[in-house]
Subunit: 169 residues, 2 copies
Amino acid sequence: MSAHEAYASNNEKYASTFDKGGLPLPPSKQVAVVTCMDARIDPAAQLGINLGEAHVIRNAGGSAKEALRSIVISQRLLQTREVILFHHTDCGMLTFSTNDLRTIVKNASEGDASVAEAVDQIDFLEFGDLEESVKSDVKFLKENNLVLPGTKITGWVHDVKTGKIRQIA
Amino acid sequence: MSAHEAYASNNEKYASTFDKGGLPLPPSKQVAVVTCMDARIDPAAQLGINLGEAHVIRNAGGSAKEALRSIVISQRLLQTREVILFHHTDCGMLTFSTNDLRTIVKNASEGDASVAEAVDQIDFLEFGDLEESVKSDVKFLKENNLVLPGTKITGWVHDVKTGKIRQIA
């Protein structure tokens, strides 16, 4: 069974008792959470986020740089005024370099020049030190002129072994 | 109370009974879910995704284009072979244009030229038709030479009023 078949079946059960259809578009807690796509991260459960409270932005690593487009939309159109950024232990982003991954993709393409050209345009935004990556992303947001002045911005590490979060910045 | 204070408190409770610290890095269902950052979306609950099963990529709109970096990492380094893409009803991305948002940001900056220059570099990736946006993003992934051949790719609309999902592509 493909995952989409299993998830569609699960969704039927979910929808059969769903009773939160009246929530407004703007997040009620005026907050955007940025975190990794990692399969061991479940922000709603791990942070106790209720439906309707928070924007949740997720990408490989929990990159603030890639999240910027979404944060501008979140702040300017939907009134969020806080950003909580998480990276996590045992993150895949600590295990490779952009050059490594470009080589993997090129080697798999059997010499296709269009693949090489496309992958050479992507910065995969890996990082070498977990806590430094959190500090650096918080600094990026605090100094970015598209992020609203006065935004509360904090940076955290989520430990996938314990489920605990710890503030870094 | 800031949202991060409430969420840190919730996390203490979560971690106190956490017993899934041994999950591996690669997603067990070999799938990446792409969806919107919207506060009314909770993929784990709405699709019944168990911890460790799936990468979850979220951004404003559920843009496949912005998700590409994460999808390449997901497939090439962490062995996912399926992408399930969701957009949703009442999405903020249906309500503005990139030019509108650039104007809002510029007007709020009181003539700061560096703000104007920065915001003019961002394509906010809005869309005018919900179902078309799903089809277009699925097409983008199916035709992209960085996405592995043979990847199962499906596109869905999530209805925030009913909690139901519906396949579009």
